[in-house]
Symmetry: C2
Subunit: 195 residues, 2 copies
Amino acid sequence: MSKGTETRHAILDRAVALSSRLGLCGLTLGRLATNLEMSKSGLFAHFASKKNLQLQVLEWAGERFLDDVVRPAFKAPRGEPRVRQLFENWLRWAEARNIPGGCPWVQYAAEMDDQPGPVRDTLVEQQKGWIGILRECVCRAVAEGHFHKDLDCDQFAYELQSLMLGWHHAARLLDDPGAETRARRGFEALLKNAR
Amino acid sequence: MSKGTETRHAILDRAVALSSRLGLCGLTLGRLATNLEMSKSGLFAHFASKKNLQLQVLEWAGERFLDDVVRPAFKAPRGEPRVRQLFENWLRWAEARNIPGGCPWVQYAAEMDDQPGPVRDTLVEQQKGWIGILRECVCRAVAEGHFHKDLDCDQFAYELQSLMLGWHHAARLLDDPGAETRARRGFEALLKNAR
């Protein structure tokens, strides 16, 4: 890996961390430069514009999410174990990556839903991709006989996504020490109803 | 109501609407003044600072939420009917109030979770108050015999809050036309498990 690529990756790691707290709109080239103790013009050479930076941050966060959450889960056996592994990896990934604001997708989703344009479009594609992965893993658990054959896989994916948003709300906004236990209980109830 | 109070309320209505799209951080006195076709100095006379504006927006949105969601639900009979009415009112309130960005609490929650200070503190108190109301109504449904006596009321409140966050994500970010149906199905499943 060239020195330039290494620098770019280090900048993007920092940009994901910063945007998890300040949002994609709060991620200005000036703020990122200050955070990196780098000149704004040096940063500009890498990203050219705030919009381009935002798009690259989404792409980078998407790659890291695949590395940390999705790919390792696909090493678990198909069906319920894989669904469980997705859930576990998801709970852990922001902390494991030292992303200080929790899962950046939760931040991006609430922030960008009313901001039309290429950044929102990219985010929507990514989030649809993620829900699609969840759904596929749930359908596979039906095919394997782990979940009952009339299960509405889209509904399961919706409720699991909801539980994770609720966990973020309880843990990060309300500082509820029981948030993770509640997310786990909700997940077990979801599995129980699906079996 | 004095002319000054009327003006202040009209400004706050507009500020809630604007912040539902741009967030509390995006709600600058300059932007709000432009939106209201009012001078920035005129607005400054009402609110003195962005932080004060944010705090008054939270208070105002809180009052409207009580008017639209909570108080009408308390006209429904205690127990499950009241829980159901809270859910129905919540689904409708942002649209009924012409708040264009959907439920502003979803926006505020994701935005403020990493921004320590009085605005976050106020929001946390309000959100804890809301979860407390949900919880009380669920516990009352247990006392009335509508829900089984071992029900974990905190867990029910957590899962209902989660469903609403999921609905916002699916409806507003993903433009999923089935979002409301999914939220309703999730709610009915929650009720069924509680009975």
